[in-house]
Point group: C2
Chain length 226, copies 2
């Protein structure tokens, strides 16, 4: 469970202060399939970085399973993320010198998973992503949407309890987006894996069971369907 | 005018050959407002790189205003692009060490445009993009969609005859996408500036007057509306 209490984040440089997140109160519970929607610059990426512990707030608190991220050390936060959260970055952040398989298996390697098990998991998840046989390609040898799918595969490979996905369908066509979301929705239903998406894509909003609307760094609406 | 005749592009590495573009015949005339649509991996980026001269085909020819790109030197191609084509990259390709103003004015500087004229143009185009006042920010200090808008501003600042835009709305919300496309459509009507988009976004397809469908590196349909 993630609890954000009056969370604020400012960016300061020279004389300018940007209030990217201006007091968000939000609780994400286990098993949610939630979309955070808002215009470009409304604070979606900043908020996902705060609730994952990649960044700490200037005001308010973020509790990850009841632990305050501001009182955790850098190592504690990264260990927590490695074992609980799969993060899909808006710019993918694939490691250019590692091939597709090495990018995807990275977290499992840190967790000490055996090579054969890792390899089988990479093959399985690439197949789910419609990218069978791409194990040895490098990120620079992939199309934009293929890089995005490898970033998604990487986040899901170690089967974390929570997936935080920043604009996961931005470079995918309708067909690929829909099958990806159906696959995530099935995983959510079968395993209780929690999904939180930041998105502009109507395909994602349509499949979400909860939609949180961000405007200028504040959540202005919160709608649970069903 | 751009003429692609039976254009082919293969990527080779070790023992693998990828036929990214498998024989496209297509003519783009002055004043067009055209969308190239296709699933992830269908060859859109590769084709845009070929018709801009950023890359040369393995088979077939690309004629830019009747000149064959394969018989032009690297310098001739980059001079031609600088003076005729604004290219919007799928990954934006902003220069991290330059601020927003320096990124946008870059081409105009190469063309010898005076500082005051460049500055006025930067201010004007940032305002059109909904990003007034962002001149001195650096790319790392911008949201994903803000970086994308700076990449668009950069391509349009020198008012080239042709804009080639690779997924220009991928990280933009509906409202921003629609106002951007309306602005481009007005420019196209008033000045005859030619636009060719590679896209998955229905907002772009709806505004296009011509829609070319790519599948597996070939254009399978070509529909002119109106
Ligand atoms: N440098 C490269 N080396 C090897 N294969 C490549 C390279 N660049 C692209 N490809 C392959 O060529 C095909 C076409 O890629 P391209 O980037 O043109 O597709 P695209 O339509 O732009 O896809 P997307 O919508 O995902 O951006 C893909 O299968 C891709 O894997
Ligand atoms: N490092 C930074 N320094 C200064 N300002 C920043 C920085 N990162 C983001 N911002 C600003 O904070 C605000 C929120 O940015 P954020 O990236 O969270 O928005 P977003 O909703 O993810 O936008 P998009 O949909 O375009 O990705 C924006 O106005 C942006 O310019
Ligand atoms: Mg963002
Ligand atoms: Mg592409």
């Amino acid at each position: 469970v993630i609890v954000a209490e009056n969370v604020k984040k400012d960016y300061r440089s020279d004389s300018v202060v940007v209030h990217a997140v201006r007091g968000i109160d939000l609780t994400i519970r286990k098993g949610e399939f939630t979309a955070i929607v808002g215009p470009s610059g409304s604070g979606k990426t900043t908020f996902l970085n705060l609730i994952s512990g990649l960044d700490t707030p200037n005001g308010g608190t973020v509790l990850l399973n009841n632990r305050n991220t501001s009182s955790m050390s850098g190592n504690e936060l990264s260990d927590f993320r490695r074992d609980n959260i799969g993060f899909i970055f808006q710019a993918y952040n694939l490691i250019p010198v590692l091939n597709v398989e090495e990018n995807i298996e990275y977290i499992m390697m840190l967790q000490g998973v055996e090579k054969q098990v890792r390899h089988a998991r990479v093959v399985e998840i690439l197949d789910m992503m419609g990218m069978k046989g791409y194990e040895r390609r490098f990120p620079s040898q992939l199309s934009g949407g293929q890089q995005q799918r490898v970033a998604i595969a990487r986040a899901m490979a170690s089967e974390p309890a929570l997936i935080l996905a920043d604009e996961p369908t931005a470079n995918l066509d309708s067909g690929t987006s829909t099958s990806l979301l159906d696959m995530m929705r099935d995983l959510n239903r079968e395993t209780g894996m929690t999904f939180v998406f930041s998105t502009h894509d109507q395909h994602v909003v349509d499949k979400a069971r909860r939609v949180v609307i961000l405007e200028d760094g504040k959540n202005v609406r919160d709608e649970v369907k069903e």
